[in-house]
């Protein structure tokens, strides 16, 4: 799937997937990619999210932003639902990212143990 011709085919497939997910994107996933995020390993996290979202056609759009303002907790992934309720996941690794996608986006269950609230309760250790 590497040429411009492939893109046309891919486009039709993507369109089918969009139609399967009628009702628009349920979740918005935002990865912090400022200097601190990149240095802490946000890049493989972002890659993992996009790859798995594509494989499983999860109902989400994945974007990135700059500084979220919690540098010591990077890499940070924020999940917003349709009503803009926000869950902030911290110290995210590609493995944790998979679980967040599967449980939060797939099944609608927040992965409590990775959230910033849990991390703060445990004194920043995770």
């Amino acid at each position: 799937m590497k040429s411009l011709d492939d893109l046309k085919k891919l486009r039709d497939e993507a369109l089918k997937k969009v139609e399967m997910r009628e009702g628009g994107k349920e979740y918005r996933i935002v990865v912090g990619m400022a200097t601190s995020g990149i240095a802490a390993g946000a890049r493989p996290v972002l890659n993992q999210l996009v790859k798995e979202a594509s494989e499983n056609n999860y109902n989400c759009v994945i974007t990135q932003t700059g500084d979220i303002g919690l540098n010591s907790y990077e890499p940070i992934v924020q999940v917003f639902d349709k009503d803009n309720n926000q869950v902030t996941y911290v110290h995210v690794t590609p493995e944790k990212a998979s679980r967040i996608l599967k449980e939060h986006i797939g099944e609608g269950k927040v992965v409590d143990e990775y959230t910033v609230d849990t991390a703060e309760r445990e004194g920043g250790k995770l």
Binding site: M1, K2, S3, L4, D6, L7, K8, L10, R11, E13, A14, L15, K17, V18, V31, M33, A34, T35, I38, A39, R43, L46, N47, V50, K51, A53, S54, V61, I62, T63, Q64, T65, G66, D67
Partner: protein, 183 residues
């Protein structure tokens, strides 16, 4: 920390996105004869006056209001200093900003170009409406990626569709490595 050139460039590109750019041009020109890698990020964002632009390169002389600029420019300047290169920034309020950086291609501390496909994908994810053009050349052989062209092909399908993002990632990396292999 900044393992490759792609990471450095992502920093600079995100500055352009934050500056409200509608068009961003990224160029990476490698020349084996001159033994250089020349990189440039040019945007039509809000820009700043030249004096400020040069000041932002030094992290210790920035004030709090410059927080949004970050360390990207200083890191890039550091890279060019370390790797026998050059660095220049040109900016004009209301017009845009141009960042130029070169390094000695064969220098031992010069990092690899790295995952430039990921960098391009990330910029698209930061704002899918920006027209982003990437030109890569190795000794005059060129690879071009342009989101405007892709958007035309996609005909209404979002660039943010995961399948499309992955394609962008692979397409760009393939484009770059296919030229390097011919070397």
């Amino acid at each position: 920390m900044m393992e490759d050139l792609a990471m450095h460039l992502l920093e600079i590109l995100i500055n352009s996105v934050s500056a409200g750019a509608k068009h961003i041009l990224l160029t990476i020109f490698e020349d084996t004869q001159k033994d250089t890698i020349e990189m440039c990020v040019k945007d039509d964002g809000k820009g700043m006056n030249q004096e400020d632009a040069e000041r932002f390169v030094d992290p210790f002389r920035t004030t709090r209001t410059t927080r949004s600029i970050g360390l990207g420019l200083s890191f890039l300047k550091g890279l060019s200093d370390t790797c026998n290169g050059t660095f220049a920034i040109k900016s004009q309020k209301g017009v845009g900003t141009e960042v130029h950086c070169s390094v000695q291609r064969s220098f031992i501390d010069t990092p690899p170009i790295g995952d430039i496909g990921q960098t391009i994908m990330s910029v698209v994810q930061a704002n899918e409406n920006i027209s982003l053009r990437f030109e890569y050349a190795l000794d005059g052989q060129m690879f071009i990626f342009d989101t405007d062209e892709i958007r035309k092909q996609l005909d209404g399908v979002s660039l943010l569709e995961p399948d499309i993002l992955l394609w962008i990632h692979d397409y760009v990396n393939n484009g770059v490595t296919s030229l390097s292999k011919e070397e």
